[in-house]
């Protein structure tokens, strides 16, 4: 039921993920942020086993930081993606990480990029990608409407189209989505698309 998708635009990359943390029929929370900021100009969105998801992405994040301290310059997005794929591949024949990953980044020399990594250590550099049941709808919408070099407004418009499809056609659709963007100014949260707000206050009598 987890949906993660992303696309590359004109000088930026966008990642969208649902924010539900589910255990069988129970929704633990509906504001779980599954898109981690890997470093100043990289985002990593992961879906899959919740334990593996957090452990693996944090492990990758700390190793990316270590590289930066050791060498004085940050890893490129391609290098980070290949490193991540290497870790997935090494663990695959012992005790695999059950996580699917989309990595988006912006490099000064090569611009924005998006990488697709699945749990059996596949690595592809792509313009648009999606994971989960929502991928059936998101990919179809992106195949129809995606153009290379879209502006932020056009890309967000396409993202909203995908979210509408997922919400209306998926039987157990996630309630909320988070949208994060990475461009020359860095990686940051862009917006949320919520249908249900997590509140701590009890309903008024």
């Amino acid at each position: 039921m987890e949906c993660v998708f992303g696309l590359v635009g004109n000088g930026f990359s966008i990642l969208v993920a649902d924010t539900s943390a589910v255990h069988s029929i129970l929704v633990h929370k509906s504001n779980e942020d599954k898109i981690m900021v890997l470093d100043s100009h990289k985002l990593i969105a992961a879906s899959g086993e919740s334990g593996d998801r957090v452990q693996f992405t944090e492990f990758i994040q700390k190793n990316v930081s270590l590289y930066q301290f050791r060498n004085g310059i940050p890893l490129t997005t391609a290098a980070a993606a290949n490193f991540t794929r290497g870790e997935l591949a090494t663990a695959l024949r012992k005790s695999p990480y059950m996580v699917n990953i989309l990595m988006a980044g912006f490099d000064k020399e090569t611009g924005p990029s998006l990488y697709y990594l699945d749990y059996i250590a596949t690595l592809h550099k792509v313009d648009k990608a999606a994971f989960g049941y929502g991928s059936y709808f998101a990919l179809s919408m992106m195949d129809r409407h995606f153009r290379s070099g879209m502006s932020v407004e056009e890309a967000i418009d396409l993202v909203d189209k995908c979210i509408i499809e997922i919400r209306s056609r998926l039987v157990v659709a996630p309630q909320n989505f988070v949208i994060k963007i990475v461009d020359k100014d860095g990686a940051r949260e862009h917006a949320w698309r919520e249908t249900v707000k997590e509140t701590t206050a009890p309903p008024s009598a």
Binding site: E58, F59, K62, N63, S65, L66, F69, R70, G72
Partner: protein
């Protein structure tokens, strides 16, 4: 005495570990390094022995980052420094991974000192031939700290300290002239201490400033030259002031 200095694990009859003391000698021969703690700034300064003409001086960085909020300068065997710094950087990230918290300055100092001590109590190895000056801000309280470790594995916190060549002269200077400073004053105090033992000029010293907001910032040669010029002027003015009144009377 010669019989008790071969192996590190052998005490001499009068209670010395000679290998550790010889390691301290190696430190005393290393380049001068000084650190000063201010209220909101910590400054590290290191003597740069004249770089060869054909050498790219940018590849010889003596003040390094261990994490966003921790920096280290050292005196002694630089190759040993690389090993310690690498292990410390890994520990900084490992700490963040396991407890989701950045290290405190004391924690990473204790870790580095612990490593140095381990090598004074193992067979077949020699101690690390360097003393380190570790500076940083506590990630939550923002309190600045300066620590020093040495080859024996001892560590302690300081308001200002020096190590390496002529460290005694620098420490004497600091003891005489230390007061609570902040910002540019801390920077000037550090450079003045270094200038006691180093030929003046931006070419011969490497200085880095650490603040809570901006982390570690290495100063450009031009900036260092400007401050050195300021210090020289102040010295001249002080000399003139001393001589001036007596001339008038």
């Amino acid at each position: 005495m010669a019989r008790y200095d071969r192996a590190i694990t052998v005490f001499s009859p009068d209670g010395h570990l000679f290998q550790v003391e010889y390691a301290l000698e190696a430190v005393r021969k290393g380049n001068a390094a000084v650190g000063v703690r201010g209220t909101d700034t910590i400054v590290l300064g290191v003597e740069k022995k004249s770089t060869a003409k054909l050498q790219d001086s940018r590849s010889v960085r003596k003040i390094v980052n261990l994490d966003n909020h921790i920096a280290l300068a050292c005196a002694g065997l630089k190759a040993d420094a690389r090993v310690l710094i690498n292990k410390a950087r890994i520990e900084c990230q490992s700490h963040r991974l396991t407890v989701e918290d950045p290290v405190t300055v004391e924690y990473i100092t204790r870790y580095i000192a612990g490593l140095q001590q381990k090598y004074t109590q193992s067979g077949g190895v020699r101690p690390f031939g360097l003393s380190t000056l570790i500076v940083g801000f506590d990630p939550y309280t923002g309190v600045p700290s300066l620590y020093q470790t040495d080859p024996s594995g001892t560590f302690s916190a300081w308001k200002a300290n020096a190590t390496g060549r002529n460290s005694n002269s620098m420490r004497e200077f600091l003891e005489k002239n230390y007061k609570e400073t902040s910002g540019r004053e801390t920077l000037k105090l550090t450079i003045r201490a270094l200038l006691e033992v180093v030929e003046s000029g931006g070419k011969n010293i490497e200085v880095a400033v650490m603040t809570k907001e901006h982390g570690l910032r290495q100063l450009e040669e031009a900036e260092i030259d400007a401050i050195v010029a300021e210090i020289e002027e102040e010295k001249v003015a002080a000399e003139a002031a001393k001589k001036g009144p007596s001339k008038e009377t």
